[in-house]
């Protein structure tokens, strides 16, 4: 908790905010208090001036009763604490509080101090200098006092009473004291409001910050952390969802990119490892079998040489020698198959490769009166291929076509085009795993010649296998049972029964549960297989968008392939040519195209002919 970035950020910002707000509040309060106090001073000054003026007439008339009356009335006002008029000697002449009348104040008393501080009393003072603010006791309310000097005026010395002589300047002072209770209350309430507001602002700021940090920092960082843990535990197919376009988003994308490349590298390593172990196995088998075969072959052939005049034994021995020779060829074929090397790809014009392949088989085709029709697209981009291996592909396809036509008159058509294909219905799924890592590919159940993906579906009361089409989006799947939208109980791995259902999503078309399969190195595949919905989504491929392919169609007008064997034609050792063929031709083609990230598919009508369609990706870089 205390180590989290969000906590540290919020704490720092809150501390800074408290400091800023406190400083601001102190300054504001100070200014406002000063302003209020100066207004109060002016107000009190005006009040004292008013009192002075209202007593002026009674003073001049020397009507002491009236003066007393005015002062008393004024003193009754709620906020006024004391009103006194002092003469020059400091004697209280009039006061609202009658007990004070006659008292003589010392010149050092707080009311007098401002003028009488120096030896010679001052006669003119500013408002601020005449005002004093004090407390009677430390915990009582504040009091403001104002001294208003009563100056000598012509009317004073000209009056009949002749009390004051002409050369007196100050005749006495009016001392007014008011309590500041209300003002102080006002200031206190403003201060309280400001503190509350500042507190609320800080809390609000912290809350908004927390929300923003949660959204922009915490959650993305958490996702990144989960991803690094997943990758650390070996799951290289983990993909961080899109985190936007900020730095963390970019980090996530480059992280995804990195793991994808790692996964590809691992996949390649795995593939080459597989090929290497297959090669080692074949080499071991070849060596081990070839030794005993040598024993049989030498002795048998040696015996054969010496039994030429014993036809019966001779014939039997011939069988032994012939069959041993056949075993020898099989082992050799196995070695050749295992040795299929990594393609040496270079940028090549595909038409050149096809033309070279045609040169190789030309004589044979002419001898059999087979016409070749070339329909080449103008200006095809060059493709990154191994020209020798691709030449092999075309030679094999053309000679297969030639065998299919046989001795009849026929035609072989080779057509090239540039096509832009959506990955939907194009890309082959070559590997699929359950969450526990079991391989789901099924070599026996093939769909259009390709190994299918086998999963088990459990309905209420029954269960059965579903064989998914390995071509993404084509959906030629086969199901042992009928599956309705709402009766799917679970979809599981046939090996470990772990659920394959994606718990976070249902089919966007029919809302049935969808399966989620791991495609090693290539993200995840989602899909639905109810009777009337065939939705599939493969994030990895969809993100790549449509790609350019060179499409090569090799068609013949031959005998066609019976539908019951069309699934098997790419299998190694499957042949219709009997002793004539090894059954490796199309398997080798298959392997070559796989090494080129290309595909091959077949369409055939019995008696009408066969078309092989090859798609080779055009590299954009």
């Amino acid at each position: 908790m205390f180590n989290k970035i969000s906590f540290k950020l919020i704490l720092t910002i809150v501390v800074v905010a408290i400091l800023v707000f406190t400083g601001y509040a102190i300054i504001t309060l100070q200014t406002q208090t000063n302003l209020v106090m100066s207004q109060v001073k002016n107000f009190v000054n005006t009040q004292s001036e008013t009192i002075k003026n209202s007593t002026k007439v009674s003073m001049l008339n020397n009507n002491r009763e009236l003066t007393h009356e005015i002062i008393r009335t004024v003193g009754q006002q709620p906020c006024i604490r004391q009103v006194r008029i002092l003469n020059k000697e400091g004697e209280v002449m009039y006061a609202a509080d009658t007990t004070e009348i006659g008292k003589v104040l010392d010149k050092k008393a707080e009311a007098c101090y401002s003028c009488h501080a120096s030896d010679q009393p001052l006669e003119k003072l500013t408002i601020s200098e005449r005002v004093r603010v004090y407390r009677k006791h430390p915990d009582s309310t504040r009091i403001m006092g104002i001294i208003n000097p009563i100056y000598n005026e012509p009317s004073c010395w000209q009056a009949d009473c002749h009390v004051h002589s002409k050369n007196q300047k100050v005749l006495g002072v009016l001392d007014l004291t008011v309590c500041l209770k209300h003002v102080d209350q006002e200031i206190a309430s403003v201060r309280q409001k400001m503190v509350v507001m500042a507190g609320l602002a800080i809390i609000l700021l912290a809350a908004i910050l927390w929300l923003l940090i949660q959204k922009f920092v915490d959650r993305p960082v958490k996702k990144l952390l989960t991803a690094t843990r997943q990758v650390a535990s070996g799951n290289l197919n983990y993909n961080i969802p899109d985190l936007g376009n900020d730095e963390l988003g970019i980090l996530a994308r480059s992280f995804n990119n990195m793991t994808r490349k790692l996964a590809e590298a691992r996949q390649q390593l795995f593939q080459s490892d597989k090929m290497a172990s297959l090669g080692r196995l074949a080499a071991g088998v070849a060596h081990e079998i070839n030794n005993p075969l040598t024993g049989i072959l030498t002795y048998a052939s040696f015996l054969l040489k010496r039994t030429k005049n014993q036809p019966e034994i001779h014939n039997d021995l011939q069988v032994i020698v012939r069959e041993t020779m056949r075993s020898r060829e099989i082992v050799k074929g196995l070695l050749d198959f295992a040795r299929q090397s990594i393609p040496k790809k270079i940028k090549t014009d595909i038409h050149q490769v096809i033309n070279r392949a045609l040169t190789v088989v030309e004589n044979q085709l002419t001898l059999n009166h087979i016409e070749v029709e070339k329909k080449f697209a103008p200006r095809l981009p060059e493709v990154q291929i191994d020209p020798n291996q691709m030449q092999q592909v075309f030679i094999n396809l053309i000679s297969n076509a030639q065998h299919a036509i046989g001795s009849k008159v026929g035609k072989i058509k080779i057509k090239t085009t540039l096509v832009r294909l959506s990955p939907y219905g194009k890309v082959q799924i070559k590997q699929a795993l359950c969450p526990k890592g079991h391989d789901l590919m099924d070599e026996r159940q093939r769909i259009d010649g390709l190994p299918s993906i086998k999963i088990k579906v459990q309905l209420d009361g029954q269960e059965g296998m579903v064989y998914l089409d390995p071509i993404y989006g084509r959906n030629h799947f086969r199901s042992e049972i009928s599956v309705k939208n709402d009766d799917i109980k679970d979809i599981v791995c046939p090996k470990c029964n772990i659920s394959l259902i994606d718990k976070e999503q249902t089919c966007p078309k029919c809302e049935a549960p969808v399966y989620l399969l791991e495609i090693p190195g290539k993200g995840q595949l989602q899909g639905c297989f109810t009777d009337d919905c065939q939705w599939q989504y493969w994030d990895f491929i969809e993100k790549q968008g449509p790609r350019d392919y060179i499409e090569i169609k090799v068609s013949d007008t031959g005998c066609g392939i019976p539908p019951e064997i069309i699934d098997k034609i790419f299998d190694p050792f499957f042949t219709t040519k009997g002793q004539q063929g090894t059954g490796l031709g199309l398997a080798v083609i298959w392997g070559i195209l796989e090494n080129h990230e290309g595909t091959i598919s077949v369409e055939s009508k019995l008696g009408k002919g066969t078309t092989f369609t090859i798609h080779l990706p055009v590299q954009t870089t």
Binding site: T294, T298, Y299, F302, K305, R339
Partner: protein, 262 residues
């Protein structure tokens, strides 16, 4: 050839093969000594004088290639025929590179073994003849300078159009003697570097495989040879070509070839 003079050293870790070689070669007058591993074989080869050695590649401890290297270091003149159950181009080429005179993939028939031994023996004979007393009357047809070869048996010539012509060397023809018949592979067949691409039947009844110098596909064959195999002996480097092929992997395989005239 005199029956008593021929001594063969056979090295193989499989007893059945040693027995078979003893039995088959013995029937043609070879005296066969055997060794179950390369150390023992090397001891024997250095101690005694043999005319020919037949050695397996995959042997325990020291393999056939190391055996060849040891032999080369001691300047032993013993000609060696390599044999292996794991017949690959690499093995064949490496054997020839290291100075083996022939390469016999297992499993072999009695005839294949005998023809290989015969060629080996003739090879030694011809070498000895040339070194000791060159016969001024014997005609040596030299190999054109731009031709290349793999081992001593076959040559190839790369044409400007990318096709390659393949044929038999004069030495090979001299070794196998008068030719009765030649068996060529059918058109469009695939041939592989280091492996047999044709069979030559000699008058003495032995059938000799022709090692192909390159891999590729046959696009033309010399039909004249089937009718008149003697063309081969008359003009082995021009009229006596065997095939024209489209090579599969020329850039790589060319590294295994040497100049024919060397």
């Amino acid at each position: 050839m005199s029956k008593e003079d021929k001594h063969l050293l056979a090295i193989d870790d499989e007893q059945v093969i040693l027995d078979a070689v003893k039995r088959v070669a013995g029937s043609e007058g070879w005296q066969v000594s055997t060794a179950a591993d390369a150390h023992q074989g090397l001891d024997l080869a250095l101690k005694n004088k043999y005319d020919l050695c037949l050695c397996d590649i995959k042997l325990p401890d020291m393999d056939g290639f190391e055996f060849l290297e040891h032999l080369n270091r001691t300047n032993s003149p013993l000609p060696v025929i390599m044999t292996t159950g794991y017949a690959t181009v690499e093995n064949a080429v490496k054997s020839l590179d290291l100075g083996a005179i022939d390469y016999l993939p297992k499993p072999f028939t009695a005839d294949e073994l005998l023809s290989a031994l015969y060629r080996g023996f003739r090879y030694v004979q011809i070498q000895q003849q040339q070194q000791s007393k060159p016969d001024p009357n014997s005609l040596i047809v030299p190999c054109p300078s731009q031709y290349k070869k793999l081992g001593y048996a076959s040559w190839c010539f790369m044409d400007l159009d990318g096709s390659v012509k393949i044929g038999l060397s004069f030495l090979f023809l001299k070794i196998i003697g008068v030719i009765k018949k030649i068996n060529l592979l059918p058109m469009e067949s695939e041939i592989n570097q280091g492996f047999s691409c044709a069979e030559v039947e000699a008058k003495n009844g032995l059938v000799h495989p022709v090692v192909s110098p390159l891999s590729g596909q046959i696009i033309q064959r010399n039909e004249n040879l089937i009718e008149n195999p003697e063309i081969l002996e008359k003009d082995p480097y021009f009229e006596g070509w065997l095939y024209v092929i489209v090579p599969h992997n020329l850039n790589y395989e060319i590294n295994h070839l040497t100049f024919c005239c060397q």
